[in-house]
Symmetry: C2
Subunit: 194 residues, 2 copies
DNA sequence: CTCTAAACGGACGATATCGTCCGATTCATT
DNA sequence: AATGAATCGGACGATATCGTCCGTTTAGAG
């Protein structure tokens, strides 16, 4: 029996909740496995880690690229929520930038980003999320330029690259965290208009 | 017939020149192939690109890890020559740092560094080269601190990470070069003592 | 509770990569 | 030019991974 969705389109059925859960677990397990064993980690490993069969992996993601693209999309969408939160409660653009980048660093184990060695986003949705994120960053930079706290020549690509790079899964441990913080602070200090 | 080497040790024979050439070509081809297809690129591909047989690859590097470690060692040694050159003819420590990092970025296609996704150096020689490089960087930072041009809290790991990260094989093209330059200049600007 | 479409999972044949082994080749020496 | 040790290269058996296929299980509508 047909089920009418909110947007007025018609579907055979609502998505099964266990299927949704499996997709979530799959995504989480895939990111962890890739960080642990590299991009070429066997699908079987991902499946086992997620507690599903390989069949389920291939049903949801016909191709490895499809899976990777989905992980990238999720990562962009996560960063989107972070930049929104950081922008909301920050007195200056530089503070917002600091909050955003710090949050992203904290999320690094949950994300797969292009600079991690992951592929550039291909799918439409992944690209859309990336564009949206870039728009937000641009707004932040414009605000900083208006305030006079960020040099005008700074571009979106700079921040995007820095964020993606700082968020590399990298070595764990407190040393790295300190390096990360110092690098970020130094960069932010250099951002000021001379 | 024995051949007496310059250091006074005795060897059966001088190394064959074609073997030396093959090792060089192998290293170059391996770096290029890895940047193109990832760390898991088949040995056969590397061999073909280098114009040798797989047998030659395995004879020189019994293990994939052994090959990767060799590439890492070569990269560190290249950076070593760069930092020496940059240190020699630079009026200030910051200028030397700029020269060094700029050179490293220019060499990115010829290097395989840990942050590229490559493994941390394991072999004795690779580690030694890395330590030597760190010593040089420390000297540079000390000089900067003495001059008053670099904050004292900056550490070797910061510069090492920045260099290795900027030198990622990344996207080609002028846009990236500009991003790279701006990031570096912004960081260097932030380095100044406040 | 019944029923059905959707989802599951893992065995399996096809394919790709590994790393060894050895006959052929080539360089350095005399 | 002759010699022989070092080097070469790629065929080959072993192993690992891929991606499909289908019998079984399960969520959810009625």
């Amino acid at each position: 029996m047909d089920v009418v969705s909110g947007e007025g389109t018609t579907r055979r059925r609502a998505p099964r909740t266990d299927a949704v859960q499996n997709r979530e677990r799959l995504a989480r397990a895939a990111v962890a496995a890739i960080h642990r064993e590299g991009l070429a980690v066997p699908m079987a490993t991902i499946a086992k880690d997620a507690g599903v069969g390989v069949g389920t992996v291939y049903r949801n993601h016909p191709t490895r690229d499809d899976l990777l693209d989905d992980l990238t999309r999720r990562s962009f969408e996560l960063m989107l929520t972070r930049i929104e939160a950081a922008t909301d409660d920050a007195p200056t653009a530089v503070d917002a930038l600091r909050g955003f980048l710090t949050a992203v660093v904290g999320d690094r184990d949950a994300m797969l980003l292009p600079s991690t060695g992951g592929p550039a986003p291909r799918g439409r949705e992944a690209r859309a999320a990336q564009r949206e994120l870039h728009t937000r960053i641009r707004a932040l930079l414009d605000r900083g330029a208006a305030e006079g706290s960020i040099r005008r020549e700074v571009e979106v690509a700079d921040v995007a690259w820095l964020g993606a790079t700082l968020a590399q899964p990298g070595r764990p441990g407190p040393t790295w965290d300190r390096v990360c913080r110092r690098l970020l602070e130094t960069y932010l200090a250099g951002l000021a208009t001379p």
